[in-house]
């Protein structure tokens, strides 16, 4: 019959009229964000950071600048370097996440936010104070221990530095290629005291030269 397909088309739109709208009213409502979303405003735990500057080394764009000084106690005695500068030029960041992957101490995480719009390019460089004050809601990107615990940065609470580490996580105990987990510990290592490089300690106390990693 002539025009019957027009009626069919009308019925399609009528069916859509009865459905709920698809729109999400952004400032009031938000879409559910994936926990592994690589967002802005890196989450940095100063307590876990040793100032090794691995993130700065691995950054393909060289936009992370770290300046450290040895702290009062020697690094060899278990203490860490003191950070003076930790700048991330986030306007040039491509959010590849390599810095997070490089961090050996689980101190740096991708953020979960996306609302860091600024009026000036100068404000897009995140400094160490900004990183200290930023909300600690890390993305679970490259952090399976967070993902396994079911943490969701979108609706989740901020995490303390003691909760985010790999310490309680069993992954590193599992066997991987070229490694034996139940390898017996050599007996000489058990009895021997850990060697202390005394010359290094004397050097660092005599002349505290800052270790610099610039871009």
């Amino acid at each position: 019959m002539y025009g019957i397909n027009l009626v069919k088309g009308l019925m399609v739109t009528m069916k859509n009229l009865t459905k709920r709208p698809f729109t999400v009213q952004y400032p009031e409502e938000r879409v559910k964000q994936h926990p592994r979303f690589r967002g802005e405003e890196f989450v940095w735990y100063e307590e876990r950071c040793t100032g090794c500057a691995s993130c700065a080394k691995y950054c393909p764009l060289g936009i992370i600048e770290i300046v450290t000084t040895p702290s009062e106690t020697a690094p060899a005695e278990g203490d860490k370097y003191k950070l003076e500068v930790f700048d991330i030029a986030i306007n040039r960041c491509m959010f590849c996440g390599l810095c997070v992957e490089a961090c050996p101490y689980d101190a740096l995480f991708m953020g979960s936010g996306f609302e860091q719009g600024q009026y000036s390019r100068k404000n897009m460089v995140i400094n160490i104070d900004h990183l200290r004050q930023a909300e600690k809601r890390p993305s679970t990107y490259f952090r399976p221990q967070l993902e396994d615990s079911g943490y969701d940065p979108g609706g989740g609470r901020p995490l303390h530095w003691q909760e985010v580490g790999r310490e309680g996580w069993q992954w590193h105990q599992k066997e991987k290629a070229g490694m034996r987990i139940d390898r017996p510990v050599p007996s000489d290592l058990l009895e021997q005291e850990p060697p202390v490089d005394s010359s290094f300690v004397e050097d660092s106390e005599a002349a505290p030269t800052p270790v610099e990693e610039a871009e």
């Binding site: 019959m1 002539y2 025009g3 027009l6 088309g9 009308l10 399609v12 739109t13 009528m14 859509n16 009229l17 459905k19 709208p21 698809f22 729109t23 009213q25």
Partner: protein, 403 residues
């Protein structure tokens, strides 16, 4: 009670006009009170149409949004209902530009020339019992004459804008309007035949059975033709956004653009009002005639909803498809409808030439059969000729010849 409107006056039937006229007549001389009453009615009519246009622009945007699974304007006011006001304020504060090469006088007249027919159409439409501004005995003719002004306004806009896109839009608009005027008039003849009068008041009172049932083909043709004359989406070639940007009103901005938009949205409402009067038995409802205006507004709402529905659904036609639709489909349909109606009226009328309700039901039955048959016949006639994919000869290579 100094002034009394004589029964021979054309405005005698208008209850509101008479009340204002006689009320003001107690204080002012009769001639002045006539002017005051006329101005009051005109204010009511113009502002009613403009207010309705604003309201309809919001309703339609919400509706089309929901048809598309969106929400539509929802920021200001409850459910975004103050959006037309925001649009208006924004347009009022914009600069009112005139192109350098424009014909300034014609360019400035156009918005008024587009709005005037829309408002004028409402003058003869009865909202309720005795509420038409003027009960013309040639009301249908008047409506047809007034709506044709729009085509002139569109051409004025296109010509005076000194813009090629505007000229294209205007040419298309005029082609569409002239083509669709013919089937619309032919379809209205059927209504006039059955009603036996051109006065819209008589047409309403003749509809003991709504003419939608008596004249289904005429309603369909009139609806399609009207939506073409309104430049609405299946037929909006004159202002096709994706082809010629905005068509004839491309150069308009500010207040003039607001007026043109108001005229377009108001035209939907007034056309719906005319259709309600002609086909949906106007202000008469099933319960009470004191609620005539409520029935009237409700029916207008239903038709406006259908207009939005159609707009949300169908894509734009090409210009040749559009004119072919008018001349090859709507015009034959309206002619068939006119002949069928004329024969039915000739055989069914009684001695005085009147038709009673039984006759109307009989006509409704016959006309529905005619409409169904027409659609079936036209379905086979207009079916797209697709060449069947037969075996390809000549150009093919057999596997042995390929190398």
């Amino acid at each position: 009670m100094n002034c009394v409107l004589g029964p021979d006056n054309i405005l005698h039937d208008t209850l509101l006009f008479r009340v204002i006229y006689e009320g003001v007549g107690n204080v002012l001389p009769c001639g002045l009170s006539y002017v005051v009453a006329g101005l009051a009615i005109m204010m009511l009519l113009v502002n009613g149409v403009l207010l309705g246009a604003g309201l309809f622009s919001w309703v339609e945007r919400r509706l089309i949004g929901r048809f598309h699974n969106r929400i539509g304007p929802n920021r200001w006011g409850p459910f975004g209902s103050l959006q037309p006001l925001a649009d208006l304020v924004k347009l009022l504060f914009k600069e009112d530009l005139t192109p350098r090469g424009a014909d300034r006088i014609v360019f400035a007249i156009v918005p008024v020339a587009m709005l005037a027919p829309v408002v004028l159409m409402m003058a003869v439409v009865p909202f309720a019992k005795d509420t038409a501004l003027a009960n013309l005995n040639v009301g249908v003719l008047y409506i047809l004459a007034v709506t044709s002004i729009t085509s002139i306004a569109i051409f004025m806009a296109g010509w005076s804008s000194d813009n090629r896109y505007a000229m294209w839009g205007a040419s298309r608009g005029v082609a569409i309007l002239i083509s669709y005027e013919v089937p619309v008039v032919m379809s209205l003849l059927g209504v006039v035949l059955v009603a036996g009068s051109m006065s819209l008041d008589d047409v309403v009172s003749a509809q003991t059975v709504p003419f939608l049932l008596v004249q289904p083909l005429a309603f369909f043709v009139f609806f399609a033709g009207t939506s073409a004359e309104l430049n609405r989406t299946p037929f909006d070639l004159a202002e096709a956004e994706s082809e010629i940007i905005a068509g004839y009103h491309i150069e308009y901005s500010g207040v003039k653009f607001a007026l043109i938009q108001a005229a377009e949205f108001g035209a939907v409402l007034t056309s719906s009002a005319v259709m309600v009067t002609l086909f949906l038995s106007g202000w008469s409802g099933p319960v009470s005639n004191y609620l005539g205006w409520a029935w009237f507004l409700m029916k207008i709402g239903v038709l406006a909803f259908i207009f939005s529905w159609v707009r949300a659904t169908f894509p734009r036609l090409r210009i040749d498809q559009l004119l072919a639709f008018a001349w090859k489909f709507l015009l034959p349909l309206s002619i068939i409808n006119l002949f069928a109606t004329a024969l039915e009226v000739y055989f069914l009328r009684d001695g005085s030439g009147a038709l009673d309700t039984t006759d109307l039901w009989i006509m409704a039955g016959i006309n529905f059969g005619v409409a169904f048959g027409c659609l079936l016949i036209f379905g086979t006639l207009i079916k797209e000729k697709v060449r069947p994919a037969g075996p390809i000869t000549g150009a093919t290579l057999s596997p042995g010849e390929a190398d």
